[in-house]
């Protein structure tokens, strides 16, 4: 009685003495192990998926946003006319000049123009065509920022740290575009320390760059030892002396930098290869070239409103960690943008170009729409060819074809075709469709045909499996009331197999959507700016666009690449959702 109420007691009572306890335990533990491995596999897959999505989304979101500059533009009737003729580029340059009148240097003016997208003149023309009454007036026009400015505003150009100013800062103009920044005792100590840290980092970097030189010295020594010819020996000796001189010079510089970094105080000269230190006082910007504990000397990037003393907290020093020589967005441009930002003339909002424009070399003008339309056309062609052909082939092979050597051979070949690398289909398309039939290059028509070749085996195999899965009782029932073979198939077997066929088709389509290699072969990697208007227009597709953008060096294209991947994934998710819906709709029980 007491025994039976205890769980262990029940187990003891129920147990068959002739069965091995250890064996049972082994069975249970192997089951637990199996479940653990299964869970671990799923967990790993989930982690990978989350990592992938996080990486893509975090990199891609800036591409959906775009910076705009609100510019006061004077539509001078002397330069442009209301019918859209005239020099709109000059109008843009004038507007920029009016905003930053102190910029006179040719190089600096080019940098100033570089702030804006290079199709700003087109935008201005469009604006005037829409608002003809603006002619002869000054209007506020919102124009796109250029790719580099956009990247900077999204914080992807360079890492920025800032030291907010302690004490009072005063500016002294020393002429020649240079200014002295005077601050209270030790107010610049942090800035100085930062320059020393940067110095030490650079010294380390230089030291690392010496390794190849040292290796070259070792190589030369070996060659010298092995050389017998007197002329060769002297040549090698000259080379070696040269390299050793370079090393010595570099070592001297490094030692100097180390010494300066280690010493406290003093005055530090900031070279171009170091991070940029920009003091922002009274709305102006001074790029520091020499820093001491209580004062600094620098080039004026943007003239301050006044030379009055700046109260503590109203001024600061920004440090741009990437050296100016290593980035495309220059210090002067940063100063202008900061000024525009401070006056509320810059805003970041949802990009209207990314989803509407075609390809472009300029990141801010580049959009995904051209590739998306190309993909849609290509897939439509692919579907229109591969679905009927695939289903008919499957029906014939499954229902009508006799079982013999030829059909066996065909079956084996279809299965093998599914495993052929897709680029081979691209080569076939190039040789057959382009060279032999003379169809247009880079066209969705040919792309769809090539992808149809690739998708056919998938559809045929899926459709045959679906046809096979239809219960024979349904065929017998139809035949039994006198339906012909074709009637049996079209009235009963195909409708029942349709969910499976559609699933296979959509899997094939999804595969085709993500395919790049065969399309490269038939020229769909071409740079196409226009949105394709038909199946014979040159176009590109989403995966090829991703491939091309991934190749571009500008930072802004990195975001666009990830954003394009997001669009592609969205397409895939939509297609798979469609597959589920279709399957549910066509599914019948029997």
């Amino acid at each position: 009685m007491t025994d039976a109420t205890l769980p262990g007691g029940v187990a003891a009572k129920i147990r068959r003495p002739d069965l091995s306890e250890a064996r049972l335990r082994r069975r249970y533990s192997s089951e637990r192990r199996f479940r653990f491995f299964g869970l671990a596999a799923i967990g790993l897959a989930m982690v990978m998926l989350v990592l992938l999505l996080t990486s893509i989304i975090s990199k891609g979101w800036p591409a959906f946003l775009q910076s705009y500059v609100t510019l006061e533009v004077t539509f001078d009737p002397a330069k442009v006319k209301a019918d859209g003729t005239g020099d709109f580029r000059q109008v843009m340059i004038d507007a920029l000049q009016a905003r930053f009148p102190e910029v006179t240097d040719r190089r600096h003016r080019a940098e100033l123009r570089g702030l804006l997208s290079n199709d700003t003149d087109v935008r201005l023309r469009e604006y005037l065509l829409e608002n003809p009454d603006a002619l002869g007036q000054t209007r506020k026009v919102r124009v796109m920022a250029g790719g580099e400015m956009d990247t900077y505003l999204k914080g992807q150009s360079t890492e920025v740290t800032d030291f907010s100013g302690r004490g009072i800062a005063s500016l002294v103009d020393i002429g020649g575009g240079r200014m002295r920044v005077l601050v209270g005792a030790n107010a610049f100590s942090e800035v100085l320390a930062a320059t020393k840290v940067a110095l030490a980092a650079e010294a380390l970097e230089m030291e690392r760059e010496l390794f190849p030189l040292q290796r070259r010295v070792a190589d030369l020594q070996q060659a010298l030892a092995g050389a017998t010819d007197e002329a060769a020996r002297s040549g090698l000796a000259v080379d070696m002396a040269d390299v050793q001189r370079q090393i010595a010079a570099a070592n001297e510089t490094i030692a100097d930098m180390r010494r300066r970094a280690a010493a406290s105080g003093g005055i530090e000269v900031l070279r171009d290869s170091l991070p940029s230190f920009i003091a922002r006082v009274n709305g102006g910007a001074v790029r520091l070239t020499e820093v001491g504990n209580d004062q600094a000397l620098g080039d004026v990037l943007l003239a301050p409103d006044s030379l009055a003393d700046a109260a503590p907290g109203t001024w600061r020093v920004d440090v741009y960690q990437v050296a100016e020589t290593d980035r495309r967005f220059k210090d002067r441009q940063i100063a202008w943008v900061n000024d525009l930002e401070a006056r509320g003339e810059v805003d970041i909002s949802l990009s209207d170009t990314f989803f509407t424009a075609g390809a472009s070399r300029e990141a801010e003008q580049a959009g995904i729409w051209g590739a998306a339309v190309g993909s849609v056309y290509t897939l439509l062609i692919c579907l229109a060819l591969s679905f009927p052909v695939g289903v008919l082939a499957a029906v014939y092979l499954e229902e009508f074809a006799p079982r013999n050597r030829i059909t066996d051979l065909i079956e084996v070949n279809i299965n093998n075709l599914a495993a052929v690398p897709s680029i081979v289909f691209g080569l076939l398309g190039l040789a057959m469709f382009l060279n032999f039939f003379g169809l247009p290059r880079s066209a969705p028509l040919v792309g769809g045909m090539v992808l149809a070749l690739m998708t056919l085996p998938t559809i045929i195999i899926a459709a045959r499996a679906a046809l096979k899965a239809v219960p024979p009782s349904i065929r017998e029932a139809a035949l039994g009331v006198g339906a012909s073979k074709l009637q049996t198939i079209t009235h009963h077997v195909l409708p029942l197999a349709m969910p499976g066929i559609l699933t296979g088709t959509i899997i094939g389509m999804a595969q085709a959507l993500g395919e790049t290699a065969p399309l490269l072969m038939i020229g769909m990697v071409a740079f196409v700016v226009d949105i394709p208007g038909g199946i014979t227009d040159p176009s590109t597709v989403l995966p090829v666009q991703i491939y091309m953008w991934a190749d571009f060096p500008e930072r802004a294209f990195e975001a666009r690449t990830s954003a394009a991947i997001m669009v592609l994934l969205a397409f895939l998710v939509i297609m798979n959702a469609l597959a589920v819906v279709l399957r549910k709709r066509f599914e019948r029980r029997w």
């Binding site: 017998e476 139809a478 039994g480 009331v481 006198g482 339906a483």
Partner: protein, 266 residues
Amino acid sequence: MSAIAEFAEPSTGTNSPMVVARDVNVHYGQAHALKHVDLDILQHEVTALIGPSGCGKSTFLRCINRMNDVIDGCRVTGKIELEGADIYDKRLDVVQLRARVGMVFQKPNPFPKSIYDNVAYGPRIHGVARTKSEMDEIVEVSLRRAGLWEEAKDRLLKPGTGLSGGQQQRLCIARAIAVNPEVILMDEPCSALDPIATAKIEDLIHELRQNFTIVIVTHSMQQAARVSQRTAFFHLGNLVEVGPTEQIFTNPHDDRTQGYITGRFG
């Protein structure tokens, strides 16, 4: 001569043969499934085919409407005539044959469509009904004859697969008779049904005999005794004995028949 005689009506003997089989052999690949079968199936009678599993009775049944054609490697030789016409003649249209010889299968197999469409399918593909009202009439008559009308009239547009097993089988019978065949082949129509549904089907077979010639394969000897007028006993691919049901069950000539019906083997 006791219980059986009460159920089975004695054969009148005046009926003419509907189906005549002479020296029918069936091979499945190498296997000789049916050996030299000679059998007459008389009009407006129920002929029961009995015998142990694998004896060839279903094979013979499927020969009568050439359902064996769809089986790979199946070869039929000999002669089967339907009202004097050779059904294995090359010029014969198998669709026409199946319109005259309907079939009901072991497992109820309604189409995954509405009850109405299930019944209307045969007439529709044969172009029997010209108008919607004609079709409605065919469906109603067929369902009435199959004894399903009362149960199904309010749910004609519901799927046929939603009916119970017995109802599904009666739906399949309605589907078969909607084409108005002369012969109905039934391949163990009650083996998947409970006794009540079985009784209903058996009653139905009694009624259908007025208009159709019926061949039924069954494993239940009681069923054969209850519904059939003639019984054929198959064994190992041979037709052992055929005769009036009463005689087969009370006074079989062959020892094997005797052994089977008394339950000594099979």
